[in-house]
């Protein structure tokens, strides 16, 4: 009986082998004898339910986008959907110790966040500047929550953990007690710092983070030690012990040369720099009445440019590129104990095996880059772009519809005759380029009005963990292509899928929205699946029975 059962099972198993598994020569011979097999329709398409998109651009209820004058500070209009807080801009220009109480309150800054003092050279602007920076952790771990604490999404549903230098803001780190979302001012990247050539700058790092940190002024003219003989270079094994949790240190600089520089933490920099502790540091040329926007939160549009920039350019943008390795950035979410986090990040994590997964421009990935990191222009303008590559890989920055001119490399002006105009510019890690974007429609500098992308042409950077469009894609948008709410009036496909978490979780067929018949999800081949299940069941039974049949019964 058992043998017959075994034979039956073998027969069923043979019959359930899917035809596509038969050797190709057998199938060819079969077709030669009997012709092709009859038509079997392929599985029907199954439509994946579209997720509800979040709004791409909310109404500007606060009036932040408008050009305005606050405490005597003329603040340029910011045409993008989300604009910087103009009260914070005014406080950064006047100094948080000089603005009115109402403006300071509206900015949310502490009174000592950016203090401005005496006009040492008598040219009408302050030359003593004291900047205080804290370290914030966003999307970090929690001993209670199942999700990240103090959340900041770089794109729908994407919340890698990171650290950033931040100005001092009073009150809560979240929007309110009921919300886990970080207040808008706490974000990536660390703010761009702007100071004037020759100013006496003091930067105090108030380290409220659970790890030691420093500030290294990369490319900024600074002495190795300060006037008291204390280390001033921010490097733990050459100039100073790092600033421990709860402690503070002041760095002093009086830069003699202007240019676009960089600042970053130099404690375990292969981890701390890549976690986001880095920012642009711009030294502006000395001019009379040069009231600078000392901090540009989130980088991007400079709403109160320097006198030197106003003389030569119509607009100015800070563009900060940073890539993130999720293998690193999730480590602060997986445990809460600082000892375990330190072990994980500084002993277990190996950057030599690292691969970047997320790519940000000014702290956002597509489509959020279109909310606040567009380069908005008009025809016949000269636009200054200050670009830094904060990642660990080179960037080949390509501008659609335009060729840009490299005017400065690492803060040093290129001779006029040696300036290069091109549509792909390369940035090594930590390198800065000052670019002139000339929107004259002459077929060389620009091809006319439109919505012209700019992005790294190393194609992985235009994805978010391999899903495109993503990464740090943004665009040069002409004002006549910008809607009244600051959102570009695109001509292509619907952006709704891009504003869903499901799209970036790889759950939505990428062209379903506009080619539903062609590219929806293919259905399941039920018969194929059934054959596999039967085959597996038969093989299992055959194994058990076969062992029993062949086994010699005990005497």
């Amino acid at each position: 009986m058992r043998r017959w059962l075994l034979l039956g099972l073998i027969g069923i198993a043979v019959l359930s082998v899917p035809p596509q598994w038969y050797p190709r020569t057998w199938r060819a011979q079969w077709a030669e004898w009997f012709g092709a097999s009859g038509y079997q329709p392929l599985p029907a398409s199954t439509s994946v339910e579209d997720a509800v998109p979040e709004p791409a651009c909310l109404e500007d209820l606060s009036g932040w986008r408008e050009g305005q004058t606050i405490d005597g500070v003329a603040i340029l209009p910011s045409p993008t959907c989300i604009a910087d807080d103009p009260y914070a801009v005014a406080a950064f220009v006047r100094g948080t110790n000089n603005v009115s109480a109402q403006t300071l309150a509206a900015s949310g800054l502490t009174a000592d966040a950016v203090e401005k003092g005496a006009d040492l050279d008598g040219d009408g602007d302050p030359d003593e500047i004291h900047i205080r920076l804290e370290v914030v952790e966003l999307n970090g771990g929690s001993p209670e929550l199942p999700e990240p604490a103090t959340q900041y999404a770089i794109a729908p549903g994407i919340m890698p953990g990171f650290w950033a230098f931040a100005p001092k803001f009073v009150g809560m780190a979240t929007e309110n007690f009921e919300s886990l979302t970080a207040r808008p001012s706490l974000r990536l990247p660390s703010p761009a710092i702007r100071v004037e050539q020759g100013d006496r700058i003091r930067i105090t790092l108030e380290n409220g983070h659970y790890m030691p940190h420093t500030v290294h002024l990369h490319g900024v003219d600074h002495p190795f030690v300060d006037v008291d003989g204390e280390g001033n270079d921010g490097v733990p094994f050459t100039s100073e012990v790092p600033v421990m949790p709860g402690a503070a240190r002041t760095y002093e600089v009086q830069p003699r040369t202007a240019g676009t520089a960089f600042y970053h933490c130099h404690v375990q920099p292969h981890v701390h720099v890549m976690m986001g502790l880095q920012g642009l540091f711009v030294v502006e040329e000395n001019r009379p009445n040069n009231w600078l926007q000392t901090l540009n939160v989130g980088a991007g549009h400079v709403r109160a440019p320097s006198q030197a920039v106003r003389e030569e350019f119509d607009r100015e943008y800070d563009l900060h590129y940073l890539e993130l390795d999720s293998d690193l950035n999730t480590r602060i979410q997986n445990t809460n104990d600082p000892r375990l986090i330190t072990e994980s990040m500084h002993r277990d994590y190996d950057i030599t095996d690292a691969t970047a997964d997320y790519f940000t421009l000014n702290g956002k990935s597509f489509p959020y880059t279109f909310q606040d990191s567009l380069v908005v222009v008009a025809p016949d303008e000269r636009v200054k772009l200050r670009v830094v590559n904060g990642g660990m890989n080179p960037i080949a920055l390509h501008t659609h519809g335009h060729k840009v001119t490299i005017t400065h490399r690492d803060g040093v002006a290129s001779p006029l005759g040696a300036r290069i105009t091109r549509d792909v510019v390369a940035l090594a890690p930590a390198q800065r380029l000052d670019l002139l974007l000339d929107t004259t429609n002459d077929g060389l500098n620009a091809y006319g009005s439109g919505i012209w992308l700019f992005h790294d042409h190393g194609e992985r950077a235009i994805t978010s963990d391999g899903i495109g469009p993503g990464g740090h894609i943004s665009a040069i948008v002409y004002e006549d292509y910008l809607g009244p709410n600051g959102w570009p009036e695109t001509l292509g496909v619907s952006w709704d899928p891009y504003f869903t978490e499901a799209y970036y979780r790889k759950e939505l067929p990428i062209w379903q929205a506009y080619a539903p018949n062609l590219f929806t999800q293919a259905g399941v081949d039920v018969w194929y699946l059934l054959r596999l299940i039967v085959l597996a069941a038969c093989l299992g039974a055959i194994g058990v029975l076969g062992f029993g049949v062949l086994k010699r019964p005990r005497a």
Binding site: P55, D60, A105, A111, D112, P143, G171, E175, G246, A248
Partner: protein, 201 residues
Amino acid sequence: MIGGALFALATATALAQHDMTQHHGMVMNANAEMLPRDCESISTEHEFTVHAGAEYAAGFPGTTFGYSQREFLVEPCSRVTVTFVNDDAVRHQWMVHGLPRYLYPGGMFHLEANGGSNQTGSFIVPSDDRTYLVHCDLTQHMEKGMKAQLVVGRGSGDLWAIPGVSRAFNRDGYLPSAAGLLVILAAGVGGALAFALRRIV
């Protein structure tokens, strides 16, 4: 991102309406006089001096920051005066949540002190037995130890993850790297013992 404008307006309004001493920090929503609706009078006066800083994490492994006192027991309808002393060189906060919103905008009483400074403020608690969250809301300060509870009357149960009071809801694993091998070894030993016992029995 979303709601940023409303957030700023709310912050501005809140800051403009309430007591502030911004050069060294702030006191928000101080209320030493107005009684909650359910209180007829002040029942008791409580005064606490709370120190904050990295040194107060010393007794609690796996934390970085802490308060000198992590539990505050008060009677219903009592007036609580807190002097918050920041012993660090960075900002810290002593923030209570869940108070009646008609008296405390956002349901919050908030002391914030710059490094090396202190702030004092008072508030009056309602009559119901309830446990209120007290914490520092700078990023990761609560998560890394700066958390306490204000227990009014009998309270409403301990909150999670308060150093010295309650355990973490998400407790990290603290196992040696050879833990897997030890578990397998233990299973083998257990099996061998069972086999041996079977022979004996």
